[in-house]
């Protein structure tokens, strides 16, 4: 089950941008010896996943890679390499391999929590004491109408934490959208300008994953009404409006779901049709007149002889 925990760690990772340390790769030889057989030369993939790929390396931080290397992925047939698990590698050697992978792919390492890799310089923690952090987040529109998110990271004693990477993300029905990362400044503020303006209020999360001597923290915020609201007429240019229930919908019996026709053309059209049909009506009245006249004529013919005899 421990690989699941690896998975959890991976799950926490959020993209961040930070130059990699291109240390000399003592891990290169180790990788070639222990890993390349399955993962391919330079981790390009083979029987096992391409762990040298950008996709993998951006999605996993050093701690996760180290742990996966040490503990193995038993379910997938990957052995545990850590000495403590009966493997062949020391923790330092594993760290070397991880460093090699990073350097290899020239990719970025998300903020490490426990990885024995070249550590994130924790400038804020002059004292080596472990400290918990907390975060708050605010929002305000800027002059361009863009929403500016400010996440403030501080220790529990109220002192700001600077130089740390805060990742912003947005939860939606269809998953979480990464908004990017920002470093905290001297006041502990990480600032992110949202270029997108989603039209419906939704939740923004700022996450700090922690550092060597800092605990992780996160904050969430319901985005205020955006600058651009949905206008009803904007929904679709055909002007079709249909509200439906949450239940699957059957078209209402005998009713129109599509929009009503535009008023003025309809009126004109109706007027023309009505005009034609009323003229028909007038002509029919002439026909009725002919019939009446014929009836009167007949009556005269029938009555006339009687009148004469009387």
């Amino acid at each position: 089950m421990r690989w699941m925990i690896v998975v959890f760690l991976m799950a926490l990772v959020i993209l961040s941008v930070q130059p990699a340390r291109a240390d000399d790769p003592p891990g290169a030889k180790l990788f070639a010896t222990y890993c390349a057989a399955c993962h391919g030369a330079a981790g390009k993939g083979g029987a096992a996943p391409a762990i040298g790929s950008d996709a993998y390396l951006t999605a996993n931080d050093n701690a996760a890679i180290a742990q996966a290397t040490g503990d193995g992925v038993v379910a997938k047939g990957m052995p545990a390499w850590s000495k403590s698990k009966g493997g062949a590698l020391t923790d330092d050697q594993i760290a070397d391999i991880v460093a090699y992978l990073r350097a290899l792919a020239q990719t970025t390492a998300p903020g490490p929590a426990v990885a024995p890799t070249p550590a994130q310089p924790a400038r804020s923690s002059a004292n080596a004491e472990y400290a918990q952090t907390r975060m708050t987040m605010t929002q305000s529109p800027n002059a361009d109408g863009e929403m500016v998110l400010v996440a403030t990271l501080e220790k529990f004693d109220g002192s700001p934490v600077s130089g740390m990477v805060v990742a912003f993300s947005r939860a939606t029905t269809f998953g979480t959208v990464d908004l990017g990362t920002a470093k905290t400044d001297s006041r502990g503020n990480a600032t992110l300008v949202m270029r997108e303006q989603p039209e419906r209020a939704r939740y923004i999360t700022a996450t700090f994953k922690g550092a060597k001597t800092l605990g992780s923290s996160a904050a969430m915020l319901a985005l205020e009404k955006p600058a651009v609201a949905i206008s009803a007429g904007d929904l679709n240019t055909a002007g079709v409006r249909l509200s439906i229930d949450e239940e699957p919908l059957l078209a209402p019996e005998g009713s129109l779901i599509t929009p009503n026709p535009p008023l003025l053309p309809t009126l004109l059209f109706g007027l023309v049709v009505l005009g034609v049909w009323s003229t028909y009506g007038y002509v029919v009245s002439q026909v009725v007149g002919i019939w009446k006249s014929g009836r009167d004529h007949q009556r005269e013919n029938v009555l006339a002889p009687k009148a004469r005899s009387a």
Binding site: T172, T173, F174, T176, V177, A251
Partner: protein, 296 residues
Amino acid sequence: MSTRFSRRQFLKLGALIAGGMATLGAARSRTFDELARAVGDTAARLPLFRANAQTTGELIGADGEPMTHAPAAPAATNQRRYVMVIDLAKCDGCKECTTACSAMHFVPPGQEWIKVFENRDNKVAGAYWFPRPCMQCDNTPCAKVCPVGATFKREDGIVLIDQERCIGCRYCIAACPYASRYFNWAEPPHTSEELAQKYSVELNYPHRKGVVEKCIFCPALAREGKIPACASACRMNAIYFGDQVEDVVTNHAGETVSFTQLIREKGGFRYMEDLGTEPRVWYLPPRDRVYPAPKG
């Protein structure tokens, strides 16, 4: 397991272990929930995860504490505008989208609600695969001409057909420039599974003779916050589906990205934009392809 270790897959897994709650059915509030739970389970390493009064005011997670989470705001259908993005650089023409769609909707033989074309705009650029679902146009040429209002546009962007009203005049087929509409020329072959369902415009089955059918963006799935059958089946992860109001699209691999950003940055376009139909399906150009181009 694929080499693309996407967060979403892991989140899903974590949630299954932690609470067994994140089945596909509970998808609407899934993502945030999972994130919170995943964080909670690793709380030994991450001592505090909390929101505060300035944000939502809700305590969403702390070491050892039971968690509550903010609802991911289930939206009424009329507050959504579904949108699809198809990355032509990724489509390798395997047609699994068509297969999955046909299986899911019991699509009658001869119809391909999402059809993969081998397009070739000119000789220089060469050929590329081009999946064509219904474009769910905002300026619907089809619904415009329907004499009985059997086909209509919903506020969430989906164009549906009421097969109980359609008179089978096929004028909508004439009006559709994308050839997305199909007609049931004969009584379609039925399966018991299909017939067991009660007809609904959101299912479009049980199918029947003499009416028009087409891709409907799987509204029943969208209602649950799930991506359509074609997108789920796309092993190249080329089909993204999402909500324009939420400004998000996601694909089978769970690459969840901002819709506007994706279109802007990758030069998204719409098929036959000049016809003014305002399609809701966007395409990303077939650039830097990850598959061999069609021979044609």
